[in-house]
Amino acid sequence: MSVNWYLLVSAMIFTLGAAGVIVRRNPLVILLCLELMLNAGNLALIGFSRMWGDGAGEIFAIVVMVIAACEVAIGLGIIVALYRRRLPVDVDELRELHG
């Protein structure tokens, strides 16, 4: 079956993730939405890998999964540090880096 279908699903998931990153205010959920975007990229990579019959796309997908794991570890560490310092866990109220 055509890879276009997979690309379409990937585009929809990416779009949902981007909308979520903008509209949500809880940093935990923003991290989840970032996962959605990374996964959409993974789906497209695997789809292209299947289309060419070549393993490179799968390696890329695995590297993306590693990056996502690092991002989750650091992001959750920051959230825990925020919570420890009694800062509000809400990205709209954390304006110190806003300038």
Binding site: S2, G17, A19, L28, I59, A68, G77, R85
Partner: protein
Amino acid sequence: MTFLFFFIFAGFALAGAVGVVMLRNPFYCMLSLVVHLISLALLFLLLEAQFVAVAQIVVYAGAVMVLYVFVVAYVGGGDKPDQLWSASARQKALAIGFASLIFIELAIAILGTALSALGTDGATLSANYGTPAQIGELLLTDYLLAFELASMLLLVAAIGAVALAGRRGGIAEDESNLSPRHTPVDTPSPAATGSMAEGVSGYGVTKPLPDPQFEGRELQQPTRAAAEDDR
């Protein structure tokens, strides 16, 4: 048949993604993401990438999500009614507009390429496509540098996470200046709590421990010792 499975799994993946964006409680968002990840792994299986599908379930839907469960349980966040519905209308409109722009752009990119002329049904696959053998061989030959860099990145991320979230040092250094959170450990418990003396003769919470210099006598026969002092 492949079409049928594709639409089922894609439907679940999209429903999971919608759930992540729309649900109010972060815990439910996370469970919805697990549904999304598992159906995505099934899509990977349809694309015959077996190893990546298994890694997706084990690493993502397993390990990473357990980390999320811990942090959601620690931070909470499910208490307040969220957030999504209190987002300002301007922000929501911006989000929808931006997302539809991205989607239109991606759709143009997909439709506008010459992919349809290429015959996108996929190449004939070799027998070991997507197996751990092929992945391992590629990782240790062609993509060795990426492999090593990824492992270094994981190490750095682990150290960074410990430094950020650790109790001493890091960002939480001036934690002691803030109002201390009350924990059971901080409550001063009477001396002899949890010792043999508490269990045998009831010292501790109800009776304070006697002065150490009289300890031997008092512990044996407190009443008679008091009587002797009077005499």
